[in-house]
């Protein structure tokens, strides 16, 4: 056995890349779970094409999975990767620009045949023409080694080819000192009834590990110590799973039945999948015939006293718009979760974007105010979802919950909350028929009473036509309409009394405040912290509540000379801030379907500061 040096590093970013059929998402997820259990902090970014099995070897068919992990706090999936695992030339070509200079490339040499080189647009083999000399290239014939590991098993060549990702995974486990057990245990469960596949994958995984240990190809392995996280029990969680669990937690804490009406749409479908698993929890999921039936069935369920929710992405919200207006009018609780993706129209279904904020705030006919809440990290999706339900139930209103493709598929370690300490959010159903008026309002919240079908003596009718104040009867009188418009707006505004004040990370006044919302949290926080360490006067404010806005927001904004609002859109929050507070806020806008890199934010922060000085 050769002597290997062990180097300690604080943080590493690895990117697995290959054909969309190469199992890169699975490889990345396995690496993530093992890494999480080892106690590193981490953040991940799956990046895959919209096509399920795009033609092999093509540039547009490349699927990638990036994981950034370390012994320090990790807020982003990493601006650049330190290690790139490329299963073919296309994967190399697409991802090389994200590799740091001097970074490591591990290539499957078998993938670098003439056909694949041509498909990737390489005139010459980059492994041979010296174009990669700024990097450390490790050439491994992964396909052949995988086949050798399996040669005495009676397994089809197609399957052999498909399991080569486990060889790559085994190599990376060796390189970063990760144990194989988590993945082997996972394989045992997954292929419980297919012992030959279990055996094959386990063998290939071990072969990758042993190959790295034995051969001279890698001289260094790395040790990444566990991160100093808040003590407690953790699990790894994606944003979509956190949304699903947030809904379940809210339903339990509200003592209500959970009803999801949803239509499959990328990147939100995993919430539907996840909730469909929990029949034993009494969760009812209804895969509707379309987006409209998704939301209207949820409204029907809410009318019946369930916690009605619907999950979708931007194009789906467009279709649900009229029904959101109905929920505003009938004042029933409902949560609409929009996992934002690249738009307009079908746009970039598998990529992230933040361009649905104005749609959430204003995208309805008539004056139809709706609370809007945005999650900031994958695990924060749990809390944001719970909060959306709390507000919906307390204020009898639809609530728009915004996440995005990055949060949805990205994952991070999550300190499991103490469920007993979460608040009870049970609604108070009316049962006493005496003096019941469907649109009489609570003095403090302006919320209307909730009487559910089945309650004797409370038979009443609701609907989308304008209601007479208090009685709820259909009413077309001009002054009543004006009053109801104001009451509905005032009800939503009063939620500002019931949400936390906005908090600034850093000094409460100074040269520059960077204001963000949603999934850009990690990138902004990383950039601002680095700038603060450099001694620059920069603070960060991240908004969870987009409607109503926190009561102290105007005051905070007034304490800074300049306000910068980075968004993955053409400037939506910045518009709101400028119009609400008449502040000269400026936007930083890139709409590439990818999260911001903290280095690009640092650059714009520095440029903005220079502009002031």
């Amino acid at each position: 056995m050769s002597q290997k040096t062990i180097e300690n590093v604080d943080e590493v970013t690895i990117r697995f890349a290959g054909d969309s059929g190469d199992g890169m998402q699975l490889t990345g997820t396995q690496f993530t779970n093992t890494t999480a259990i080892l106690g590193n902090d981490l953040s991940t970014l799956p990046d895959y094409p919209a096509e399920i099995r795009a033609p092999a070897g093509t540039l547009f068919g490349v699927s990638g999975f990036q994981i950034h992990f370390g012994s320090t706090e990790i807020h982003t999936p990493g601006d650049h990767c330190d290690v790139l695992v490329a299963m073919n030339p296309a994967a190399l070509k697409v991802n090389l620009s994200s590799l740091i200079l001097g970074g490591s490339i591990i290539v499957n040499t078998d993938g670098f045949n003439d056909r694949n080189l041509k498909l990737a647009g390489y005139a010459q083999n980059p492994l041979k023409d010296g174009s990669l000399e700024k990097y450390t290239v490790h050439e491994v014939d992964i396909s052949k080694l995988t086949a050798l590991a399996l040669q005495d098993l009676n397994i089809s060549s197609k399957f052999v080819d498909r399991s080569k990702n486990f060889f790559a995974l085994g190599m990376m486990y060796w390189m970063y000192g990760r144990p194989l057990e988590t993945t082997i245990e996972w394989l045992k469960v997954k292929f419980k009834n297919k012992p030959d596949i279990l055996e094959a994958n386990t063998r290939v995984l071990k072969a990758g590990w042993n190959f790295s240990e034995t051969t001279e190809i890698f001289s260094v392995r790395y040790d990444v110590a566990p991160a100093k996280l808040t003590p407690g029990r953790y699990r790894n969680i994606t944003g979509n799973q956190a949304v699903a669990w947030g809904f379940m937690a809210a339903a339990k804490k509200a003592s209500m039945q959970l009803f999801l009406g949803s239509y499959p749409i990328t990147p939100a479908s995993d919430i539907l999948h996840e909730l469909s698993l929990y029949k034993s929890h009494g969760v009812k999921t209804f895969q509707a015939e379309d987006e409209i039936a998704g939301i209207t069935s949820a409204i029907g369920a809410s009318f019946g006293g369930a916690l009605g929710i619907t999950t979708t992405s931007g194009p789906g919200v467009a279709l649900k718009t009229e029904a959101i207006g109905l929920a505003v009018m009938v004042e029933l609780p409902l949560v609409i979760c929009n996992v934002q993706r690249g738009g307009p129209s079908t746009g970039l279904p598998t990529k992230t974007e933040q361009a649905d904020l104005l749609q959430a705030l204003y995208g309805r006919n008539g004056e139809a105010p709706v609370p809007v809440i945005a999650a900031s990290t994958p695990s924060d999706c749990f809390d944001a979802t719970f909060e959306a339900c709390r507000i919906a139930l307390k204020y009898m209103t639809p609530v728009l919950l915004l996440t995005d493709g990055y949060l949805a598929n990205g994952s991070e370690p999550w300190l499991i909350p103490d469920f007993d300490k979460m608040p009870d959010i049970s609604p108070k159903f009316v049962t006493n028929p005496e003096g019941f008026m469907p649109y009489a309002r609570d003095e403090a919240t302006l919320s209307r009473p909730w009487a559910i079908p089945g309650t004797p003596g409370l038979e009443h009718r609701i609907g989308g036509l304008e209601k007479q104040n208090i009685t709820g009867n259909v009413n077309y009188e001009p002054d009543n309409h004006d009053l109801m418009i104001h009451l509905r707006a005032e009800k939503i505004q009063r939620i500002a009394n019931d949400i936390p004040l906005a908090k600034v990370d850093g000094e409460p006044q100074g040269e520059l405040l960077v204001v963000g919302w949603g999934g850009t949290y990690g990138a902004i926080r990383t950039a601002v912290e680095r700038q603060q360490k450099k001694g620059n006067s920069v603070s960060h404010l991240h908004l969870r509540y987009l409607n109503p806005l926190p009561k102290n927001l105007g005051e905070i904004l007034s304490k800074f000379k300049q306000i910068l609002v980075p968004e993955i859109n053409l400037g939506q929050l910045v518009k709101v801030l400028r119009s609400e507070f008449l502040v000269p806020a400026k936007g930083f806008n890139r709409v590439r379907g990818l999260p911001f890199r903290s280095v690009e934010l640092e650059k714009v922060i520095e440029e903005t500061l220079k502009g002031i000085k």
């Binding site: 566990p226 509707a288 009605g308 499991i416 089945g454």
Partner: protein, 350 residues
Amino acid sequence: MSTLVEEIMKGTNEIPVPKYTAKDFSSDQDVRWCPGCGDYSILAQTQRVMPDLGIPKNKMVFVSGIGCSSRFPYYMETYGFHSIHGRATAVASGLKIARPDLSVWVVTGDGDGMSIGGNHFIHLMRRNLDLQVLLFNNQIYGLTKGQYSPTSEMGKVTKSTPYGSVDYPFNPAALALGASATFVARTLDRDPKHMQGIIKRAAEHKGTSFVEIYQNCNVFNDGAFFPFTEKETKDDNVVFIEHGKPLLFGKEKDKGIKLNGFSPEVVSLKDGKNSVNDLLVHNEKDTTLSFILADMTYKPHLPRPVGIFLAIDRPVYEAEMERQIAFAQEKRGIGDFKKLLNSGETWVVQ
């Protein structure tokens, strides 16, 4: 946990169903349909049938979309939801899945149910939730003041078709059958007795009951169904189909329907060539026959079939869902969210 919803669903506090009269189902709202509208009759027959169903009115919900017919829930002293255009079927589906204990009724029209709500309509039929759909078919858009509808006949001259409609109309009964409905019926606004019987059967059916009601819009499409509803013409133009009975019609019951291959044809019982024994006998359990009968609609040489085309049993969606939940709970125990949070791969940071 014992919540109000659960208590109601279990019926723990249920009292014996009061002896209702039709008046108990009349709300305090002024009925605002045009004088002479066929909707009045449908409302009256529905209110008349309700006391016979043995269901407390607090357990009844009428859900509607948009259109003249969709004002219906406001006039019923039950729970009601006047939703948005075309979506009553979807709202009702969510309600029924969440609350299988309720008696849910959808009230819709030919525009609301067949046009903007066509998609939800067909999916409701195939899912077979246990609810009732009353479709008021007046072959016109009334609330928007007189445009042709998806059931208007070809050539129909309306405000939006000054040169006559070139759309071929839907046959709602056939559409429902094509979408695998388990109960499909047709009745007439001007035949109160028949309508009461059909509504009652619809309420009793386990599964989605679809009832098409020919309804006269005396303002924008007056007399569209007169051949089928008026004393002078009715007998010769309508064949009432009844389970187990031969298809007889005519003032003197001297005509009948006989099958020639799969094609129905009118035969006389007077010319000595055919007797009652040669006539087609209706079987409401026969899906093939139901298609043949529904297909008689719009055929000028055949009488219009009215009655129950099909009434068959098939698993009910929400009952199947409840069964899955019960199965999962029996197999895995009732879900414990706290346990779930801590299940699978977790680790402790000291």
